[in-house]
Subunit: 230 residues, 2 copies
């Protein structure tokens, strides 16, 4: 039995949820607030970061990139032509480059500011780093977001899927990362039509449905968030 | 023919240099100053980050973790029992967790401050972010370094190699990351005897020799840096 420690507003957590859906795997989900640094959670992942995947009694699989590799290694072959990682090492390197781009670089340059300031800070106590959002950081996140959206638009216009001709982990990583920002209504899809069309294709996949059902009690999603025809 | 874009004071670059040595692969090396954001380099890796591995005319392999996966996929099987990645997916997840720990987390919490302030800032022009080192950031890096060294000590005391019974990518990542900090004389090896003994074993490997020959014209290494009996 699989169990995922995650947070609904964590892009890397959403990436693993999407993969589980695409791989047709059922799992139980435990919402974790990593800023609380719960002792039991730190014992599972000393880095204190999300997500963490547990597969039965085996050692925890820590981190989104690593969980993706694990799912591909344990279930990828059974996916046959629907496998989300290519066979060729060079093509795999390109999928991994973009996966890391959206799970690490986007997280640092965009999510840390927009989700960090607008969401996580409001959920944290003062001791945990909570407080009022800082306008300068939100502006920095919005400026960085524009560049990332342009890059998605460029990739989507030059290729069928982001890393090449086939759907891959890279599409899941980018869609997971962007979906959190879209929940906040921060994305101007009109400005990047190729990115919009690519996102609409990913968003309409069955694996995406659980993400569209996410709700923060303190902050409802943007009106178009669940709309497949946005 | 392999070619590596790297910087001698970049831990992730050193990781790939160590792997090339362990895998017995020859390569040409191009020193890159990523803060200069050279247009030709950005065309190779739009993230602008080191290292980048070129394998002939194929697409570039960007990033240390990804280069490690690529080398394992293309050469790992030929290494037989000396392969630096285990076969079992769970054991691979543990190797990857620690590899990411030292290539990403250590980089953010330690190298960014100690190498960033003490080395890179002195090499950069004012426009590139250069200037005087900030004492508060150096103190933060030193405080974080203590925790990382304790963790290496704990791993080294509980296992033969850092990720388990066999030498792996995780040892290369940790030794690469620590070697840059050791060049700066920032590591008190006396305080962590198990970490010391583990590092001495990695440091004495032939693949490590090129790292010990690195010299910055503006900053010579700590006196014990090249010493195998430190």
């Amino acid at each position: 039995m699989l169990r995922l420690f995650h947070h609904p507003m964590s892009g890397p957590s959403r990436y693993v949820r999407l993969l589980l859906g695409e791989y047709g795997l059922s799992a139980s989900f435990s919402e974790e607030k990593p800023w609380q640094r719960r002792r039991e959670f730190l014992a599972i992942n000393p880095a204190g970061a999300l997500p963490v995947l547990l597969d039965g009694e085996s050692d925890p699989v820590c981190g989104a990139v690593i969980a993706g590799e694990y799912l591909d290694e344990t279930c990828g072959a059974m996916m046959r032509e629907k496998r989300l990682m290519p066979e060729n090492p060079q093509a795999r390197a390109e999928v991994r480059r973009l996966t890391e781009w959206f799970l690490v670089k986007f997280e640092e340059e965009v999510a840390r500011y927009l989700v960090g300031e607008r969401v996580f800070k409001t959920l944290m106590s003062g001791n945990e780093g909570g407080g009022s959002p800082e306008a300068t950081l939100i502006r920095a996140g919005r400026a960085n977001l524009k560049n990332h959206l342009k890059y998605v638009g460029w990739l989507a216009a030059s290729r069928n899927w982001l890393a090449g001709s086939r759907l891959s982990h890279a599409d899941m990583a980018a869609a997971a990362a962007l979906s959190v920002i879209d929940y906040l209504g921060e994305i101007d899809w009109n400005g990047e039509p190729a990115a919009h069309d690519w996102y609409a294709r990913v968003k309409s996949r069955p694996a995406f449905r659980p993400l569209l059902a996410d709700r923060l009690p303190s902050l409802p999603p943007a009106s178009h968030y669940v709309d497949l025809d946005f």
